[in-house]
């Protein structure tokens, strides 16, 4: 058995291979469950019934998917420009901080409060990413390191706020802020805990990013810069400007995810672990699976959202440890990366002639 390189692949194959990889990953996950003493059949049925037989269950899947799509679409844009933004987690938290700050302290009331929170969240996340982008463009500081490290700064910033200056008077000693005013809550889809404007925002933003990337001169610059920086300079692309805009959009999208989380679910600023569940990191997988296509991030965000929601179901229905979700996420990624090989090579059995 050996591998033979293949030429360009059609869209059918490039869709089938990842699909098959995901199915295999799920099969492997069920096998893993069996090792935990849970019948795979029972688990599959529980997940199906928990997520696909009623609106409430399905809305949980969407609730998980929204921040993943938002952050993932932004990362797809960033990765196209070879801006290795590993900092969506921190940008999301900064978005949550800014949204909370506006909700609690701006004094804005009524219908303008939510848009103001969203804008603040977008800018906060965007500027957080911009910091790393400017360091990269001006001083060639490694963006992986800076974006990653800024995550920790963001985590401690939130911790400090909720333990210190922003600690709620009504929190009875717990580490979180006061509850936001009513006007700061996103409306929920009736009968669910899903803030539906988040869904709309995620789809619109993914579409907007795809349009930016493929239909505008800015997007052209992003792609040229990402594929060949030397040619980009020759083409007249101003890397600092382009990279800064990319960072602003990418971090801004993650910031919006933070806004949706606090304004749609929590209604206060609380521990970073509770705000995010690692959405910012998982969004890297979302973008990667989508092959850095912002619109495809809607699909892959739903897929990973499903993994998260299925984990919740299993935890509640079958007492499976929640950490298993991480393992399943890992398996999905592992199988997808392993599957890449079949897009580039054909497997030939036996003889030496291809």
């Amino acid at each position: 058995m050996r591998l033979v390189p293949r030429g360009p692949v059609g869209p059918a194959l490039s869709l089938l291979v990842p699909l098959f990889s995901v199915l295999l990953a799920f099969a492997a996950s069920l096998l893993l469950l069996a090792l935990f003493g849970t019948s795979p059949r029972e688990a599959a049925v529980a997940v199906y019934q928990g997520l696909f037989t009623d609106l409430r269950g399905f809305s949980e899947l969407l609730r998980r998917a929204v921040p993943l799509v938002l952050a993932g679409a932004g990362l797809a844009l960033a990765f196209r420009a070879q801006f290795w933004n590993i900092g969506a987690e921190g940008q999301l938290l900064l978005g949550a901080v800014a949204a909370a700050g506006v909700a609690l302290f701006s004094g804005i009331e009524g219908g303008w409060l939510l848009p103001a929170m969203a804008l603040a969240a977008f800018l906060a996340g965007g500027l957080w990413a911009l910091l790393a982008a400017v360091l990269k463009a001006r001083l060639e500081v490694n963006d992986v390191i800076t974006t990653l490290m800024l995550n920790y700064v963001a985590v401690y910033l939130v911790e400090w706020l909720i333990h210190g200056p922003w600690k709620g008077k009504t929190a009875f000693g717990f580490a979180y802020t006061d509850r936001f005013p009513e006007a700061a809550s996103l409306p929920l889809f009736p009968g669910t805990a899903l803030a539906w404007p988040g869904v709309v925002l995620a789809v619109l933003l993914a579409g907007f990013f795809a349009w930016l990337l493929f239909a505008t001169t800015f997007g052209f610059e992003v792609r040229v810069l990402g594929e060949n920086p030397e040619a980009a300079r020759y083409a007249g692309v101003r890397a600092t400007v382009t990279l800064s805009l990319v960072a602003l959009f990418s971090g801004g999208a993650a910031g919006l995810a933070g806004f949706v989380e606090v304004a749609g679910t929590h209604h206060k600023l609380l521990s970073p672990l509770q705000i995010s569940l690692g959405y910012g990191y998982t969004a890297i997988i979302v973008a990667w699976l989508a092959r850095n296509h912002p619109l495809l991030a809607v699909l892959t965000g739903l897929l990973i959202g499903f993994v998260f929601a299925a984990g919740d179901v299993l935890k509640v229905a079958l007492m499976v440890p929640f950490q298993l979700v991480e393992v399943v996420n890992g398996l999905v990624l592992f199988f997808l990366i392993a599957g890449e090989v079949f897009l580039r090579y054909r497997v030939v059995f036996g003889g030496r002639r291809g």
């Binding site: 030429g7 239909a215 505008t216 001169t217 800015f218 997007g219 052209f220 610059e221 792609r223 040229v224 594929e227 060949n228 030397e230 040619a231 300079r233 020759y234 083409a235 007249g236 692309v237 101003r238 030496r352 002639r353 291809g354």
Partner: protein, 514 residues
């Protein structure tokens, strides 16, 4: 093919070291090697001669185990063998000195040589090979300091390291892939001397080239490839350059391109007292002044590495000059970036077309607007007009005869000649005032080179001022209205084509006043 049969006996009745029999290798859409047969004797330098795309590199890749042939067989010392990897090749005594060096730049020479070598100690392997490097260096005339870091070495010295890497593995057959393409003429002469010593030590050498004079300088036998087929295998003593050129090209040699007819007009590009630093910080361009006028081609001749690259970059906004001025028409562009230069009408055919001139993963259409994408008619405000881009691409592909599966195909699928035609099409669109063309026909076959020359002369006749930077003296002599010679960063001579000859230019380029 009879040639190959006849030549499979070596002088002194020894059997050939290597025989290639009817090797065929197909790629999607092309037959890269079509029933190729030839043999190499011990103690001979065997040239593989052919134009780009003739199948030389494929053949070398097969012999080095990077590709497997679809058909045919390889025989070494009378034994049929299968070479599945470079490891197999090295074990059979075949080594490759690649055209683009594969060295770890941050490591020393000795560390690079020791890398992957069998029988070196686990700890401090470099120390164990250093004496061997000195010894081999002395024996073959390859002086290089084992403790020097590779990034400190010139291209010629790095090549020596690659050769030593092969020699230290006790190979019998060395293959050198276009070894002179990175060397100065002096370094090339040094390399030929090394090859002669290898021959004397009983090594066989396969020397890949598309330059005729190198065949006569160093080879004993030559196998000519054309479009994947062996068209002849000859003893070098029994042939002459005209015959080989005909065999290689398969058609009559081209007429030299027409000399300029029109008189140059007003001055378009002014360069005054220009000083430019190289990446390493020293001055690569020193006090250069010249002008380019409407409707003239000015040739800039020089051995690579004498400041041409830095000068080109300064003239196109890719490198900030340290001192001096660059003006286009009435505008002072000193210190401006590439976008401003482009908008002022300075077009640029870059010297490294794949690294800078195109984005290999983007489509032909996108690459054709790589410089114009932000201006009408290709952009309306911030939005790219994809229809206009496609229409333009279809026209240019036709007009410049760019051979591509479609305008949506990624540029990496195109051959070098077609990439160059694409770049020319793009750079000449919009009638630029000034064209800086660096090595525009480097690596192209005769037919493609002729087309490129035609386009450059067309642009000249329309009134463009053209700076032609080339190492190919025939190209410079054929196209230029004036010739500048650059040596160690300074323009040391300006000649009319009538007073220039290859010999005189060669002397000037070498820094010998003439």
């Amino acid at each position: 093919m009879e040639e190959a049969e006849a030549s499979s006996r070596c002088p002194g009745s020894s059997p050939p070291f290597l025989e290639v029999r009817n090797v065929t290798k197909r790629f999607p859409g092309v037959v890269a090697n079509d029933r190729v047969s030839f043999s190499v004797c011990p103690g001979e330098v065997h040239a593989l001669l052919g134009e780009n795309g003739a199948g030389k590199s494929t053949l070398v890749s097969i012999l080095y185990g990077l590709l497997e042939p679809d058909e045919g067989e390889i025989v070494i010392r009378g034994q049929k063998v299968r070479i599945r990897s470079p490891k197999d090749a090295l074990e059979l005594g075949i080594g490759l000195v690649p055209q683009h060096f594969l060295l770890v730049k941050k490591h020393t020479v000795a560390e690079n040589v020791a890398l992957g070598l069998k029988g070196v100690p686990f700890f401090r392997p470099a120390r164990a090979v250093a004496p061997r490097i000195r010894e081999l260096g002395e024996r073959y005339g390859l002086p290089v300091d084992p403790d020097a870091y590779v990034w400190q070495l010139s291209a010629g010295e790095q090549q020596r390291v690659e050769i030593l890497k092969v020699l230290v593995r006790d190979v019998t057959l060395l293959m050198l892939d276009e070894p002179t393409s990175v060397l100065t003429p002096q370094e090339a002469r040094g390399l030929f001397e090394v090859l002669r010593r290898m021959k004397a030590e009983g090594h066989a050498v396969i020397f890949i080239t598309h330059k005729l004079e190198e065949v006569f300088a160093v080879a004993d036998r030559v196998t000519v490839l054309r479009r994947g087929r062996v068209v002849a295998s000859l003893s070098v003593r029994e042939t002459d350059p005209q015959t080989l050129a005909r065999l290689m090209v398969g058609e009559e040699l081209p007429e030299p391109a027409a000399r300029p007819a029109r008189t140059p007009g007003r001055e378009l590009l002014f360069v005054e007292d220009l000083w430019v630093r190289s990446d390493r910080g020293f001055y690569a361009v020193k006090d250069v002044s010249f002008t380019l006028r409407e409707g003239e081609v000015v040739g800039l001749a020089g051995v690579a590495g004498n400041g041409q690259s830095e000068l080109i970059e300064a003239l196109t906004g890719l490198r900030r000059p340290e001192r001096g001025w660059i003006r286009v028409g009435e505008r002072d562009l000193t210190g401006k970036d590439a976008r401003v230069f482009f908008e002022a009408g300075v077009a640029h055919v870059p010297e490294d077309r794949n690294r800078r001139g195109v984005v290999a993963t983007l489509s032909v259409a996108e690459n054709l607007v790589l410089r114009h994408y932000r201006y009408p008619p290709f952009a309306r405000g911030p939005v790219l007009d994809r229809r206009a881009v496609r229409r333009f691409a279809l026209e240019e592909v036709k007009r410049y005869d760019i051979r591509t599966p479609s305008i949506d195909a990624p540029v990496r699928l195109l051959s070098g000649g077609n990439v160059q035609k694409l770049i020319l099409a793009r750079e000449l669109y919009g009638e630029p005032k000034v064209l800086v063309a660096a090595h525009p026909t480097y690596g192209l076959d005769v037919a493609a080179a002729r087309q490129v020359h035609g386009r450059i002369l067309e642009a000249r006749d329309r009134g463009a001022a053209i700076l032609l930077v080339s190492e190919d003296l025939e190209e410079i002599l054929a196209l230029s209205s004036r010739i500048l010679v650059i040596f160690e960063g300074r323009i040391i001579a300006e000649l009319a084509p009538e007073e220039a000859s290859k010999e005189r230019l060669g002397m000037l380029m070498a820094g010998v006043a003439a």
